[in-house]
Symmetry: C2
Subunit: 210 residues, 2 copies
């Protein structure tokens, strides 16, 4: 499958050889289908980067906001290091973790880089990068959305609510193809997660066609 990015002309066409450490199975998702990566309400990892510092946290409160151009919301508490990096750089990536990353997701959602500078190393967070997005993507996830901040200082300050425009989207083609999730045909480990509390998740379940 060609790895042509489809993000409003901003990204250049990408071939596998262009990208260092690009994982297998990762394919671009057309931007008009990007909302579907979040539509079923999965828990996400939020990554950000500024001044040579990367961080990753978990967030259950991320949601699609618009179709075209695609937008998302995410709630980032004032206590988090990731928020600081987002505010400094104007970018973040939402990586959609799966069953194989449940412990990692809980770990980066529990520990803060403020008290644990080697948080990513401790929790075994691998990352890869794609041209034109100055934020790392988390290895092993089932989907990724690169987001550019739409500055709304009142929302950010009052509600910890950040709005982003999605300028690039990718998915593991074993579980998302032709604009649709297809968990039925893939290993359980690639199914996405829905956090509740106290270390408990629900795994995305059976497909139901009405």
């Amino acid at each position: 499958m060609p790895r042509t990015a489809t993000c409003s002309g901003m990204m250049r066409s990408m071939q596998k050889d262009d990208i260092k450490d690009w994982p297998d199975h990762v394919a671009a998702v057309p931007l008009d289908k990007a909302y579907r990566l979040l539509n079923h309400g999965p828990t996400v990892l939020v990554s950000a980067s500024h001044g040579g510092v990367d961080n990753v946290m978990a967030a259950a409160w991320a949601c699609a906001l618009d179709f075209a151009p695609p937008k998302v919301t995410v709630v980032l508490d004032k206590s988090t290091r990731t928020r600081e990096l987002v505010e400094a750089s104007g970018w973040w990536v939402l990586s959609v973790p799966n069953v194989s990353l449940a412990a990692l997701t809980l770990g980066v959602g529990t520990d803060s880089a403020r008290g644990m500078p080697d948080k990513l190393l401790k929790h075994g967070v691998g990352t890869f990068r794609t041209p034109d997005v100055p934020v790392p993507l988390v290895v092993g996830c089932s989907a990724w959305l690169a987001c550019r901040l739409v500055p709304e200082p009142h929302n950010q300050q009052t509600y910890d609510l950040f709005i982003g425009e999605v300028v690039g989207a990718w998915a593991d083609e074993r579980v998302f193809r032709s604009g649709r999730w297809c968990f039925e045909d893939a290993p359980r480990e690639l199914r996405t997660l829905h956090y509740v509390a106290g270390g408990q998740f629900y795994v995305t379940g059976e497909s139901l066609q009405v």
Copy 2:
């Protein structure tokens, strides 16, 4: 289980006999646990009422925003009748539908009351009411959150994004008890839904404890 509402002193203590047509199994959820009803990202039904007119639509883009007082976001398109009622009354209810209501959820998410004035009748939407919330709740759902609009005209106009404070919350105690979902112990029909597109949902799946 007593049906005492716990919403910042606003609601009076409720006994079953106070409430006409109050369904079985519905119990109040403490407001500090209300976010957990949405934390796993289910698709919701949005109901609203004004001037004697009720309406219900489906929404995949609803999300928790804060713990205490609990707040939520929901995206309501300008074309919807429900949004008009929300703007006129300042209230809505999020009902969390389940497998037994998948066809109803798709139906009220597809048809508009603008072109189909008897939409609720056509799709078999039953409702019940609770004191002090001027909006009907949808019968047969697994949870409910009564929301009072926090006016943010810029968000509403620019992003179709509505912020609400949750002033009352209830759940079917067969699937949500002691502040936790417990789908494992209940019939499949009570599991919540996660919409994708084209009439396809994913059902909330297995519990995964890290």
